[in-house]
Assembly symmetry: C2
Homo-oligomer: 367 residues x 2
Amino acid sequence: MTDLSSLALPHVAKLHAYTPGLQPTEPGWVKLNTNECPYPPSPRVADAIRSELAEDGEHLRLYPNPKSTPLRRQIAQIHGLREENILIGNGSDDVLNLLVRVFGGPAAATGFTVPSYSLYPVLVAINDGATSVIEFDRSMRLPVEKIAASGARAFFLTSPNAPTGVAFGNAELEAVLTTFSGVLVVDEAYAPFAKENAVPLLAKHPNLVITRTLSKAHALAGIRVGYALADASVIDLLDRVRDSYNVNRLSQAAASAALADPGYYDAIIGKIIRTRDYWLGEWAGKLGWFTYESQTNFIFTEPKNARGESGPVVAKSLYDFLLCRKILVRAFPNHALTASFLRISVGSDDEMFAVNSAIEAWLKTAP
Amino acid sequence: MTDLSSLALPHVAKLHAYTPGLQPTEPGWVKLNTNECPYPPSPRVADAIRSELAEDGEHLRLYPNPKSTPLRRQIAQIHGLREENILIGNGSDDVLNLLVRVFGGPAAATGFTVPSYSLYPVLVAINDGATSVIEFDRSMRLPVEKIAASGARAFFLTSPNAPTGVAFGNAELEAVLTTFSGVLVVDEAYAPFAKENAVPLLAKHPNLVITRTLSKAHALAGIRVGYALADASVIDLLDRVRDSYNVNRLSQAAASAALADPGYYDAIIGKIIRTRDYWLGEWAGKLGWFTYESQTNFIFTEPKNARGESGPVVAKSLYDFLLCRKILVRAFPNHALTASFLRISVGSDDEMFAVNSAIEAWLKTAP
């Protein structure tokens, strides 16, 4: 019998797949582990999908617009850019994957910080790429000089950062852009919840690529749409490695409808920010837990037990306690800077009160 | 200013993107160029999407099932396989791309025939892979010995072939499977229109991978769903390089609904086959055009003008004549075996009569 793994490329035979957050399929969970939006998308989204369906779904027999051209134009207008500065992906993960395929190989290192979005090293490994890893310290300040000296061809920076929630200002990003000789990919998945974003820097810095997603602030994780904003020469490179029909018809229609309703999203983003800041105050202030200032839709906090202890064991204890009560949050046990923390997505008021009640119960029962 | 193309990997800087068939957005075209189904999908598809939307699209805020697990189970049952033998892709192009990423690199050649689906060399080039190209002769018989001797790690075979429409029997495929030491990928995009398919061979041949799509027979090109059937060890390798949320919620629901309605599809596939065979008889028989026996939803025919001449110039003349009348078919001018032919997707009766009337007009006006 043929040994099939032996036919795979050597680096693929050694790969481990990315582990996404748990996506329970049964009801009854308070799901605060993958930073989804607690509110539904704009009602225009369902209307647009119904309209694309028409009577009997007859348009679905036809291929989608291969370049998602109407969506590129709409997004260009939103950000004051041109169509040739926009690429649409099957989620921003698709865009990140294309960026790695263009810039990162065995002889062209891809850089990223640790901690940051844990998909980056997986995408680089799939492409058999070299990496240049820069460790944050507990301050989570942007290590500008280290990025400039990283030797990376492309450097991926999550800003605001995940899983910490810490945002980097445009002055800091500009310090990187002027000293780093590669492409700086600023992954702005959480930018709608932040005070500032990097879009104004695009005009001055052709080595800046910004990625966005509709999965978080736009409440559309289920449709898989993300995009890149970049110099036309970068978009052209990405289009060469892109699947020619990467975004289906319904997702193109849904994304377009969502982006046409900024009033709706301003309201829910404002609500999420108020909820976030309230609970950040409760846990950092009243409970005295070390918590990074968040400019995202999640809170990264270092739980203390009733004896005032923190650490990986304490974080794991609260994680398990919540899990037993069907409350899902995210733990990051694999790094010293994150193992004592839990990341809690900002949910609805009911969900946040449920988490808080569980925390109070844990504080009473914990040894 | 940074020269951004110089930062791209050398093989990417040299790439040309795949050119998909024209997808006109304005109405009024007879669109017979990308082998879409002329009939709408099962009415269950639109129902399933509406149901997934619920009232206000609220489920769309949540990520999809990362592995499309319910769909894997359903497809396993349809083909008499197990869940671990199935992988779902964002179109079968996604599956083909994953196969290339697992098996094809600079030191591991990927094989394919010419002519066949023109995406294969593009996917291999994106992965900087070596190729092993085997040319058909005009008989379009399967070159079994040449594939066995190709030295390819994975060999991609479109069966029935595109753009010719010629099917390869299971006896021939088995001759390849027993003599070729790599992975044989049989791209069965058009198998629902054929007399035979390779699924029964999976049990005996772990080096067989079959890919399928819902874009053709299932009238769902717009939702982007395809799948692979393979040994569990191959599926495991593909999952390692797959995007973790590659298929969105609505497409998973749509595909599931379509596959649950085989009666509907048996009827439209039967109708397409009857239409195909009628026009094959008209053009090959009455007009005397050389035409391969088609086991697909398209007809690959070598037009003759009024003087009985055929060739690339004649094919181009008819292509342009049809285009002026807003009838889109596909030409393949880049290879001697295909340049004299046109590929005409099997449309509705009205569409086929429109093509035929235009052909009759062309025969009268052509010099």
